[in-house]
């Protein structure tokens, strides 16, 4: 580590300010870093083994491949929308691999790496983006909650879950991912305060990727995010979010602190969303190429590649096997998306309440009657152009997208 990881309490520095009056960064704060963009290790930490480094790199490569395939599928119209994790692989992989499998994770909506590491399959991740499911996996089975799209709403959930852990007397650590934008939400700040007051075993992991859609972090806050933690009574850490080794180590330290009963902690991982907010976004409207290029030079994958190369830690066998694994993942992603098939609305009526209500029963029955009516009409179809709901339903069926519309 080139810098101490414990960053809380350093609020006395005079903040440098941009002409707009927005904060830059406390000059006394430098994110913890082990592996620089040039691929050079700071010092020689004994725990940085070839095996660990390759393992972390593997998850980052798989995530990047998933991301690229999903983005391409969105462009082909196979996914409604996609939120790329491009550039944030180190922050996610470094942190989630520092947790135990039983540690429950509350993701936001861009934590595809965390999902993969937790054993969620690509098709399960893509189900929500394809629009065939509200959550493609079983949260309890993966100890990974569903994605939360309302910013920050899941942070009180993480605190509450951690209160349950506390009552159960286990040493599990609950981790919640969120971004710089979500840190502005009341729920985020309530959750920090609440967790501190009851000493809940929860880690708030902020991926500061610099933008909330188009709004830069400098417009979100007047102090660095991790400074806020001290005000709530959370132990805080600042780390280079593009350095997977530093993220891994800092998260391990934060988790050790929480697991040993030290109370909640906060990590700010400084990273960059290299892609758009989602596939519907156009980042060229709000950031310039020079900025993107500067962050490109800090790419979390390339620096590990340089390290592996320099240390002689990636032999041809590892490289070939990983390439093949990425290819297999890409094939799986493409076939899974095509394999989702049409959806049937009627199943949804049974998922809203513990027991279906009279209202939903009557709506389900009415819908079934409607569909049955279309089928009757289809028998009598004279082959003319569709000019009714029935016709539209037949049209939808002809294209294999179901009648749910």
């Amino acid at each position: 580590m080139t810098q101490p990881t414990h960053a809380s309490g350093s609020t006395s520095h005079q903040l440098a300010r941009e002409p707009s009056g927005a904060p830059l960064r406390d000059p006394g704060d430098r994110p913890a870093q082990i592996l620089g963009p040039d691929g050079v290790l700071a010092g020689a930490p004994g725990w940085v083994t070839p095996g660990l480094t390759r393992d972390l790199y593997r998850w980052m490569r798989l995530t990047r491949r998933l991301d690229a395939e999903a983005f391409a599928l969105q462009r082909h119209g196979e996914l409604g929308i996609w939120a790329q994790s491009l550039g944030q692989e180190a922050a996610q992989v470094g942190s989630v691999t520092a947790l135990r499998p039983a540690d429950y994770v509350f993701p936001s909506y861009r934590e595809h790496a965390a999902c993969l590491v937790r054993g969620v399959s690509p098709s399960q991740i893509l189900a929500q983006w394809r629009g065939v499911s509200g959550c493609g996996w079983d949260p309890a089975a993966r100890h990974l909650h569903a994605y939360t799209v309302v910013l920050g709403a899941h942070l009180p959930h993480a605190t509450g879950y951690a209160m349950g852990v506390q009552r159960d007397g286990t040493d599990e650590v609950v981790t919640a991912y969120f971004g710089d934008g979500a840190s502005s939400q009341g729920d985020a700040n309530e959750a920090f305060n609440w967790a501190a007051t009851c000493s809940a075993p929860v880690l708030f992991f902020c991926q500061n990727n610099q933008y909330a859609i188009s709004t830069p972090a400098s417009l979100q806050m007047r102090t660095p995010i991790h400074h806020r933690a001290a005000g709530f009574g959370l132990r805080s850490f600042l780390v280079d979010g593009n350095d997977v080794l530093a993220v891994h180590e800092v998260t391990r330290e934060a988790v050790r602190h929480i697991r040993s009963g030290g109370g909640p902690a906060f990590v700010e991982a400084v990273t960059y969303r290299m892609g758009a907010h989602t596939s519907s976004d156009d980042p060229t409207r709000y950031r310039d190429q020079a900025e993107s290029d500067a962050w490109q030079a800090k790419d979390p994958l390339s620096r590990v590649e340089k390290l592996l190369e320099a240390q002689g830690w990636w032999d041809q066998g590892f490289r070939t096997a990983l390439d093949a694994e990425c290819e297999a993942l890409a094939v799986e992603v493409r076939s899974a998306v095509r394999g989702f098939g049409p959806v049937e609305l009627d199943g949804l009526f049974d998922q809203v309440y513990a027991r279906r209500t009279a209202l939903l029963s009557s709506e389900k029955a009415a819908y079934a009657d409607l569909v049955a009516g279309f089928l009757d009409e289809e028998v009598d179809d004279d082959g003319g152009p569709p000019d009714s709901l029935a016709g539209q339903a037949r049209t939808a069926r002809a294209f294999g997208v179901g009648v749910g519309r």
Binding site: Y104, T159, G160, G164, W194, V352
Partner: protein
């Protein structure tokens, strides 16, 4: 069987739940040693400890948000929102998270969370302490919205809400907290909590109401009886899902229907009931379905509320119109 106030009957219900269900947790602002501002949680903290009766920070969104997390972990939280007008900071957690989690996870993450909200006016309170916001929540799929009207229904319905497995908005009409009635703790005698009940039988018109208005409508029916008019009063109890079967059965007999609630009328529950009754009982109706509601004003300062709230006179005036068609 014992004679209890609504507040005490709810307290007895909570006590029973905490005794029977080790995963049940009562949480909210001032619910601990103070026993809640209406004393509904009186003595629970002393008997069950601060681990199960939790005095929370003053943060409504997180009261519901942490309850969601506790429920994911397998606990059964009962949240108290101190007053109806304070539930709005928690609105997002209730409608975007609590209500929808079961559906979006295809049933894998049920959230059995009960949110108790003292509701309605009539106690001379300051602003934000007398609101009727049931329509907001009834509009959201995934929630159950119920409201008790007397000590017995409060006691049974609260225990049933805890057992149903769904998120429940549980309204308690605060001006009835001190009304007393006979309460049996025998849950096997309780009608299903999502069923409407006939509170008084009658033949000339059907009066549909809920919560604090049930006593008002029963008072009106007693007066009407003296005037030779027989009103059937139905206590809806469950606002979502809405149990219209007993309402429609009654309207088919009486041919006339009046809906009474203290919430503002526009886009309120009454509109839903009028629509349902009209659709299902059209050929039985002798008159249009009428409503008596609070006015479409922000809830007024306390000195106005006797004029603002529907009372027996307004109900009887509407009955006159209904029977005059």
């Amino acid at each position: 069987m014992s004679r209890l106030s609504l507040s005490a009957a709810l307290n007895a219900g909570l006590r029973q739940v905490l005794e029977e269900d080790p995963r049940a947790i009562v949480m909210g602002e001032d619910v601990g040693p103070l026993g809640g501002v209406f004393r509904v949680t009186d003595g629970l903290s002393k008997d069950f400890g601060s681990g199960r009766v939790i005095d929370t920070p003053l943060a409504e969104s997180s009261i519901v948000g942490t309850a969601i997390g506790l429920a994911i972990r397998g606990y059964h939280p009962i949240c108290e929102i101190q007053f109806d007008g304070f539930v709005y900071p928690a609105f997002n957690q209730i409608v975007s998270q609590l209500a929808k989690m079961r559906a979006r996870t295809a049933g894998k993450v049920p959230l059995p969370v009960v949110i108790r909200i003292p509701c309605g006016g009539g106690i001379g309170a300051v602003e934000h302490h007398s609101e009727s916001n049931e329509a907001y929540f009834a509009h959201t799929a995934g929630l159950r919205v119920v409201i008790c009207s007397d000590p017995q229904s409060g006691h049974w319905m609260l225990r049933q809400a805890m057992a149903c497995g769904d998120p429940v908005i549980f309204y308690e009409p605060k001006r009835r907290y001190w009304d007393k009635g006979e309460v049996s703790s025998d849950l096997t005698l309780a009608p299903a909590f999502d069923r409407a009940l006939v509170a008084r039988e009658g033949t000339d018109a059907t009066v549909v109401c809920y919560g604090g208005m049930v006593a008002t409508c029963l008072e009106a029916a007693a007066v009407a009886e003296g005037e030779g008019r027989s009103l059937e009063v139905i206590d809806l109890r469950s606002l979502s899902p809405l149990d219209l079967d007993p309402v429609c059965a009654s309207v088919r007999r009486t041919g006339r229907c009046l809906v009474v609630h203290e919430a503002p009328g526009f886009a309120g529950l009454g509109a839903e009931i009028v629509s349902g009754v009209t659709e299902r009982c059209f050929y039985h109706l002798e008159a249009p379905v009428l409503r008596v509601t609070g006015f479409d004003l922000p809830y007024p300062p306390a000195k106005y509320e006797n004029q603002y709230l529907p009372d027996a006179d307004r109900v009887l005036d509407a009955v006159d119109k209904l029977l005059g068609f």
